[in-house]
Subunit: 344 residues, 2 copies
């Protein structure tokens, strides 16, 4: 592999690399409704849209088995894919699971991993329908593809936000990131110590958010019951800032969100204080919360406010106003995509 | 990860491990028609069956970049998945591509890989609709999922073979395996030598079969044009023996195939001679040919014999007769699954 003038991948980053490889792709099949660039691809069969989402998880990059139990890992690996299906306003139906397994793992380890996978399938009513299992030279490789469906008219993409739409978020933000900080801290503290007992007291919520996140099926159901179809929707995997910028870019809009409206749990705040980190930065850029970010028309204000656990954090604007957050003291600061970037 | 009484994965092998993890799985979604255990999973939407197949390819396990050009690798990674869709008598429509990329790779390397991926999409009329791109700590990871469709009544599974059905094979067998042997030999010969020129003269076909296999769309089309629906079908990725045993086990039948009917190319025979290998063993167990193995009712004999490149190699029997090959000298030897097993 000796070639002149090579370009480091970090110069492009993940999104840049994907854009480069998929630029100018033309779809030739009638069933292909939407390709690269949203939470899921969309295929249409009669009046049903099929949704497909896939994730690749690599040991040492996406998870650290020194503190992630294999059962939790299996559960989370499924949930993050289902979250993408819900984020299109769909219902997940099937998953395929491909595993690369190094010699370090015994059958019982894979049993534990699959315990988590099967539990997630059970909890979310999803069928495990296929996959591929192979040896790997180093570490554990997990590739999961989720398939779901939705009535064609119900699918929520990221490109449908309109000026004056309300920006809504489910649950609270930044907790999964703080959970990761906590687990990393205890890992460092435990290094070389036998029978080390990590101290998670008063921070159980943070650890749970990191190790065993849930996909917000309940929010999708609540929206349906309320008769609300989001104009755009994404799940928050890379951080609120990054996802909101995606929605605004795809929808050709701007946005304003309000610092004092961003939902943050008490434990997240305490942990940020302990670590001397900026709390709002953590909530904006933390990632892995798997909450839903969506927009609804202004006239749905009353209906959406009534749904428990949903918070209106701002509104969509015309594109030329840009994307910004109004701080508590009334200043406007531009939103930046500082989310996770494994390629940087 | 300290646990008592751990079981090595090699004790179960790939199929054993999959069986253990998927035993007793119950599907809960109406759209799930067929789960784990065939070339593809099947989902039904109205009168259309959706087919999903997935493969995980790991550097150092499935490919060796010292002799596999990245463009060929991209092409092959797609083709092997499409082959699974054709093997259900379907038409591939979409793929998703997930990549794990280590620091060793530059943007131009990924360009080359995608050149091959896009070429395969173009040749087979398939849309690239999504994926995931991430850093890897070591080596290249490729996970591809293919989605296809077929009218529900046309889908060919592996469990439909019936007593007296004819066993058919497309193309010729063992060439991809011999190509691999050749590439490995030249790799050893080139070790430490600068400007080494590998010698592939007279063996170009073997190298091509290994590096740039094709999926047999033409065979599927020919069968449709002839009005033949195979009673069972698989693609030959692990070797004829292994695949035929799968069909017979799933269909609760036995089989007889004839040594002198197994299609083998001249170059394959020459190479086996050179390496002192048993030619028929290579053709039975070689793997990676991506030819189609299928069964048709006896009364289709004339029609199927007329299709160029299809060979009838034997017939299905009642289960209690077992699975065997009749050698040139009239002996019966039992078929064994000695195909590739990365987990062994």
């Amino acid at each position: 592999m000796e070639e002149p003038k090579l370009t480091e991948i970090s110069q492009l980053g993940e999104f840049g690399l994907i854009e480069r490889q998929t630029a100018g792709l033309k779809n030739v099949n009638e069933s292909t409704i939407l390709g690269v660039g949203d939470d899921c691809a969309i295929m249409r069969y009669k009046d049903t849209d099929l949704l497909v989402s896939t994730d690749l998880l690599l040991e040492g990059v996406h998870f650290d088995l020194t503190y992630v139990p294999l059962k939790h890992l299996g559960y989370k690996a499924v949930v993050v894919n289902l979250s993408d299906i819900y984020a299109m306003n769909g219902t997940p139906r099937q998953i395929t699971v491909s595993l690369g397994i190094s010699k370090r793992f015994a059958v019982e380890h894979i049993d534990a991993l699959y315990d988590g996978i099967r539990l997630a399938c059970e909890v979310y009513g999803v069928d495990l329908v296929g996959g591929d299992t192979t040896a790997s030279r180093q570490g554990l490789v997990i590739s999961i593809t989720a398939i779901g469906d939705a009535p064609a008219e119900m699918v929520a993409r990221r490109d449908g936000a309109k000026d004056t739409d309300l920006i809504c978020v489910s649950g609270d933000l930044g907790a999964a990131y703080m959970g990761l900080q906590l687990l990393e801290r205890e890992k460092v503290a435990s290094a070389g110590q036998k029978d080390f007992q990590p101290d998670f007291s008063g921070k159980e919520y943070l650890v749970e958010r990191q190790l065993k996140p849930e996909a917000r099926r309940d929010v999708i159901e609540a929206l349906r019951n309320a008769g609300i179809k989001p104009t755009s929707m994404m799940d928050i995997s890379d951080g609120l800032s990054s996802e909101l910028l995606h929605i605004c870019k795809s929808s050709h809009t701007g946005c304003r969100i309000y610092e004092d409206r961003i939902p943050i749990d008490y434990q997240t705040a305490v942990m940020a204080e302990e670590l001397g980190m900026n709390l709002v930065t953590a909530a904006l850029n933390g990632g892995e919360d798997y909450e839903l970010l969506f927009t609804v028309p202004l006239h749905e204000h009353e209906k959406v406010e009534k749904i428990p656990g949903i918070k209106v954090i701002g509104h969509i604007t015309k594109e030329d106003l840009g994307c910004a957050m109004i701080t508590r003291d009334g200043n406007e600061i531009p939103l930046k995509a500082q989310g996770f970037n494994h390629m940087a």
